[in-house]
């Protein structure tokens, strides 16, 4: 039984934060509620942010892709701004989350704020240099998504509200793909890898490798990224690829549990990283298909 005393509805972000701070007792933000309705977190009231005007998906005048925190994952699957950004990699990642009914309710903000190590949207957004926008009662601040996650189920937010994330316009032309390794079609990930490469003039100018479910928080494999950055595509032999994959695997810190062993998870980071990099470099930017299947 979920012993909830009060359901508060916010009409803008500042009001949401104010309602959260009003007390009495403990509150929680709710959007899709797909996790909360299962877990019944200990709180006295919830603040509904579905009407707070943060559910939009838009391209800013500067070319950034803004994903409102209350946008559903299904919206990300079909929205043309999203399908047209970085080869549609964000849409692809969203489409692998849960199933259609869950995606139609679950939100991108909820997925990130829950801060599970296996958060489905985290790797691809990390790989595309996402910036988080956070609202307080009287100001907003932004910070890189890499700084958002503090630990398992813990973010920098405290009682503030995530308004949305923005992907910089520079990434729109990057080649990006991700893969979620699961036991069945509808499952949380055992391992997730997202790779984004900014390629110009036959050379990798920018490289991002992001990993999910293999560390206390979703993370970037920065050593592996460094190894790829500046490389001429023609010079990336299978051996180089193997080294990059091995370095990425060395950077993660996976758990041994009943879902998979740490050893397996680490090896899968290597396999998926190699496959995704290979796949991205061998095609011409169309990543509408799953990168590693």
């Amino acid at each position: 039984m979920w012993k909830l005393q009060e359901y508060r509805i916010a009409t803008n972000p500042a009001e949401a934060v104010a309602l959260m701070r009003k007390g009495p007792g403990k509150g929680a933000y709710i959007a899709g509620g797909t996790d909360m309705l299962l877990e019944h977190p200990a709180c006295d009231f919830v603040v509904d942010i579905n009407r707070a005007g943060i559910g939009d998906v838009a391209r800013t005048p500067g070319g950034d892709l803004f994903l409102g925190a209350a946008a559903t994952l299904q919206e990300l699957v079909g929205n043309e701004f999203v399908t047209g950004f970085a080869g549609g990699a964000v849409s692809m990642a969203a489409s692998q989350c849960g199933n259609r009914p869950v995606r139609s309710t679950a939100t991108v903000g909820g997925n990130l704020c829950n801060a599970l190590p296996s958060a489905d949207m985290a790797p691809v957004l990390l790989a595309l240099d996402a910036t988080c926008y956070i609202a307080d009662e009287d100001y907003q601040e932004s910070l890189p998504l890499t700084d958002f996650f503090v630990g398992p189920r813990l973010t920098v937010l405290e009682d503030r509200l995530l308004v949305g994330v923005a992907l910089p316009g520079e990434c729109a032309g990057w080649r990006c793909a991700s893969h979620k390794l699961t036991r069945t079609a509808e499952d949380i990930s055992l391992v997730q890898v997202a790779v984004a490469l900014g390629v110009d003039d036959g050379r990798i100018q920018e490289a991002r490798i992001a990993l999910g479910a293999v560390a206390p928080v979703p993370m970037r494999a920065s050593l592996a990224e460094t190894m790829l950055t500046g490389q001429e595509i023609a010079a990336i032999t299978p051996d180089v690829m193997g080294d990059v994959a091995a370095i990425a695997a060395g950077e993660c810190d996976p758990l041994d549990d009943h879902r998979a062993s740490a050893e397996y998870r680490r090896d899968m980071v290597s396999v998926l990283t190699r496959r995704l990099v290979t796949r991205i470099l061998s095609d011409d930017g169309d990543n509408s298909q799953d990168g590693a299947a």
Binding site: M1, N99, R183, T184, E186, H258, R259, Y264, D267, R275
Partner: protein, 763 residues
């Protein structure tokens, strides 16, 4: 035939589709109380005292009971025919907890929330005991005894060891025969603990009615066994108990067991108020029943030409804390499976041990999926060692028309059985059609470099009811308008038995299917039936329906014969018309009016049916997989089932049963496994971690029906419910081996296990 063999509309389809209140829980009684079970946190502990004073002071809490409050009458909750072959090792509430999750106390309150809240306020004084959670340790350790009751009935070695049941039967002389063989192959196969995962959980509502009778509305497969069991353990006459089975949202054997009914019965009698108890999904995983985990050791002796000379199967099984179906499930592992290759020398031995783990029990296939996995993987292993084609090895040795099942006389339902001779088989045809459909011998190219494709197959047989044990009754009554009331004890749990029984009734009376009104499974209103298990309903209960309907037809023919002055045998019943040898003709409604108002008889009959035979349905099943050589992931691309279930009564529903079995069997092969920690605590009590196949996981399924005419079955029918769940796991695992050369001796073949197998292979 006019109705049998046709895809008539499932008789309960409309009300289910409309969401009518037809399930146990779609019902309430004024003043209904809600029960919740306090479960043991210890794997093995004496319950010295339960202090419920604080809980009883809480709002809404009406009663708390523990073992001091109920009489200790040892019984089994297995839900089988009398005399029951499972050990009497269970009490309603026991002074000893034997697994994490065992019943300690039960609360009833005015609401579910109040009942849950009260659980935290019950103080239990436990004396913890050392526990056994490993079945090998249970087999050898007699220091720790899980059951040390003074007078248990039916425990193999009560008070001395932890063995709940054993069997050791032999035909021929396996040891001597193995010495003469060109090749002897021995392997161990490991089978996991899996849960049936029916959509509707266990739920019962009981109340005492105005005639002081206990009414139990419950989601069960065995209403009549339940009445008998409840009468004994509640110590009230059967006449004072009525069991009603509404629509049931799946059972798969898990609802053959008495899991909640005794508690609502006790509490309704104590409080005088209606009591409802529904399991949560977590309770289904902790306190319902599992398919028995087993280790099966197969030894096969074979000659160079592929002639199998001897088969030996040794089974070690974990029944958990109680011995529900311990003897009979494990008996089936040999009895239902080994006859596929009816060689002269067969040795079957099994030990089923108690552990301090959750309880194993009945689950669709009833031991055969375990045995079939071992045997059919083993056939591939034998073929590989022999250098012989695995299909040819099977063709050369499998059971054929006229063959005698060599084990049937030695092994029945927990006792000596009846001789079984194969009187109908479509197995050869099923193999041929299945091979054609899967493209046997033509492996398709994999779709990427890191993938490898493989094909696998398995043969399976089962039974149709339990020979000489299972029986059912049916009553057919004709109404004024030519409609009939068909009442049967048979239990529709979603599998569609109401529909096929109505079809048979209509066929026999020559009336439209829509004229049949069926009532099933109400112990006050319908004849007896053992219930829905052992693939018995179409074959056994169907036999009773055909007999009763034929008798009513005979009564009508008798009345009309006098009226029309003709021989009753010359009167034909067809398409709702009754015609005599001359130009006499009446509609069935006219006949009914004539019988009721002129002849003044009620055309009506009750018939019973039992069979001393249990004809085997057969299946040949084929899998095509693609294995990722780097991640170990197995993609099941296609699955073909060719099934001989005799005459097909309702093709669409049989196909549905087969496809459902493939989905369940696929889970058994690839991802379903209830994991326990070392204390027997369930680590996977939800669908987050207990993975079952969804519509996104199931492969392209090709289902081929291979009808035969079984002489002992109604309209030539045999069973279909269980046989298709036997083959998927071995077929899929054989396909994995064909793809990457790695033999998975342990299922489920998870990606990580296959990955490990691949790494060992390359080492």
């Amino acid at each position: 035939m006019k109705v049998v063999g046709k895809n008539v509309i499932k008789i309960d389809a409309f009300k289910l589709a409309r969401g009518e209140p037809v399930f146990t829980d779609d019902f309430t009684r004024q003043g209904m109380l809600y029960a919740k079970v306090l479960r043991s946190p210890h794997p093995h502990a004496r319950i010295l005292n339960v202090d419920a004073a604080a809980a009883l002071k809480l709002d809404g809490v009406v009663d708390v009971i523990w073992h001091r409050d109920v009489k200790a009458i040892p019984h089994t909750r297995a839900g089988q025919s009398y005399p029951e072959p499972s050990p009497y090792d269970t009490l309603i509430l026991s002074p000893k907890a034997r697994f994490i999750g065992d019943r300690v106390a039960v609360v009833v309150a005015e609401s579910v929330a109040q009942a849950i809240a009260a659980l935290d306020h019950i103080v239990v004084d436990y004396e913890e005991l050392p526990a056994l959670t490993d079945m090998d340790q249970s087999l050898t350790n007699s220091e720790i005894l899980i059951h040390e009751e003074p007078d248990p009935r039916g425990i193999s070695e009560a008070g001395m060891t932890n063995i709940a049941a054993r069997i050791d039967k032999q035909v021929g002389d396996v040891e001597a025969a193995l010495k003469e063989c060109d090749l002897v192959v021995t392997r161990d196969y490991h089978l996991p603990r899996v849960q049936a995962s029916h959509i509707e959980p266990h739920i019962s509502i009981a109340w005492v009615d105005e005639d002081d009778r206990l009414i139990v509305r419950t989601s069960t497969q065995v209403p009549f066994h339940l009445r008998r069991m409840l009468a004994r353990i509640l110590e009230i006459p059967e006449a004072r108990i009525r069991v009603i089975k509404p629509r049931v949202g799946g059972g798969f054997g898990d609802k053959q067991e008495l899991v909640v009914e005794d508690l609502v019965g006790v509490l309704a009698l104590r409080t005088g108020r209606p009591v409802r108890l529904e399991f949560t999904r977590e309770e289904e995983f902790v306190a319902a029943r599992y398919r028995h985990p087993q280790r099966v050791t197969m030894t096969t002796g074979v000659m160079k030409d592929g002639t199998i000379v001897a088969n030996r199967m040794y089974v070690l099984a974990d029944t958990g804390a109680y011995g529900s179906h311990a003897l009979t499930v494990q008996g089936n592992t040999g009895q239902k499976v080994l006859p596929m290759y009816p060689v002269a020398n067969i040795h079957f031995k099994m030990d089923c041990v108690y552990t301090n783990n959750p309880i194993s029990g009945a689950f669709r296939g009833y031991g055969a999926p375990q045995g079939c996995f071992a045997l059919e993987c083993h056939m591939d292993e034998v073929a590989r060692e022999l250098g012989m084609d695995r299909l040819e090895l099977r063709k050369k040795n499998h059971i054929k028309l006229g063959d005698t099942d060599p084990l049937s006389a030695k092994l029945g339902e927990g006792k000596e059985g009846l001789v079984r001779v194969v009187k109908s088989t479509g197995l050869e045809k099923a193999i041929e059609l299945g091979c054609e459909a899967i493209g046997w011998g033509n492996k398709r190219e994999p779709s990427a470099a890191h993938l490898k494709r493989g094909l696998g197959m398995a043969l399976a047989m089962q039974g149709s009811g339990i020979a000489g044990v299972d029986w059912g009754g049916a009553t057919v009554k004709l109404n004024d308008d030519g409609s009939v009331n068909l009442s049967v004890g048979a239990t529709d749990i979603g599998q569609g038995s109401d529909t096929v029984l109505a079809q048979m009734c209509a066929e026999e009376l020559g009336i439209p299917y829509e004229k049949v009104i069926i009532l099933s499974s109400d112990t006050d209103l319908t004849p007896f039936d053992v219930g829905a298990y052992a693939s018995s309903t179409t074959y056994i209960s169907g036999g009773a329906v055909v007999k009763a309907a034929a008798e009513v037809r005979g009564q009508l023919a008798g009345v009309l014969g006098s009226h029309w002055e003709c021989e009753p045998e010359d009167i034909v019943f067809s398409d709702g018309m009754v015609t005599g040898p001359g130009d006499q003709s009446m509609t069935i409604a006219e006949v009914a009016l004539f019988a009721l108002y002129k002849a003044m008889i009620q055309p009506m009959a009750t018939a019973s049916h039992m069979s001393n035979d249990s004809p085997p349905p057969f299946a040949a099943q084929f899998a095509e997989v693609e294995v990722d050589t780097e991640t170990g992931q197995v993609h099941l691309c296609r699955f073909v089932s060719a099934v001989d279930c005799g005459t097909v009564i309702h093709p669409k529903m049989v196909e549905g049963q087969i496809e459902g079995a493939v989905a369940q069997g696929m889970g058994y092969a690839l991802f379903e496994e209830v994991l326990l920690d070392r204390t027997g605590r369930v680590l996977t009590p939800d669908f987050l971690d207990y993975k079952i196949a969804s519509s996104l996981d199931v492969p392209e399924m090709v289902t081929i029906l291979v009808p035969t005419d079984e002489p002992t079955g109604p309209y030539g029918a045999k069973a279909a419910g269980e046989v298709p769940i036997d083959g998927p796991a071995p077929a899929i695992v054989n396909a994995i081996c064909d793809a990457v050369g790695v033999r998975m001796f342990r299922i489920p073949a998870t990606a990580e296990r296959v990955w490990r197998g691949l790494k060992e292979e390359t080492r």
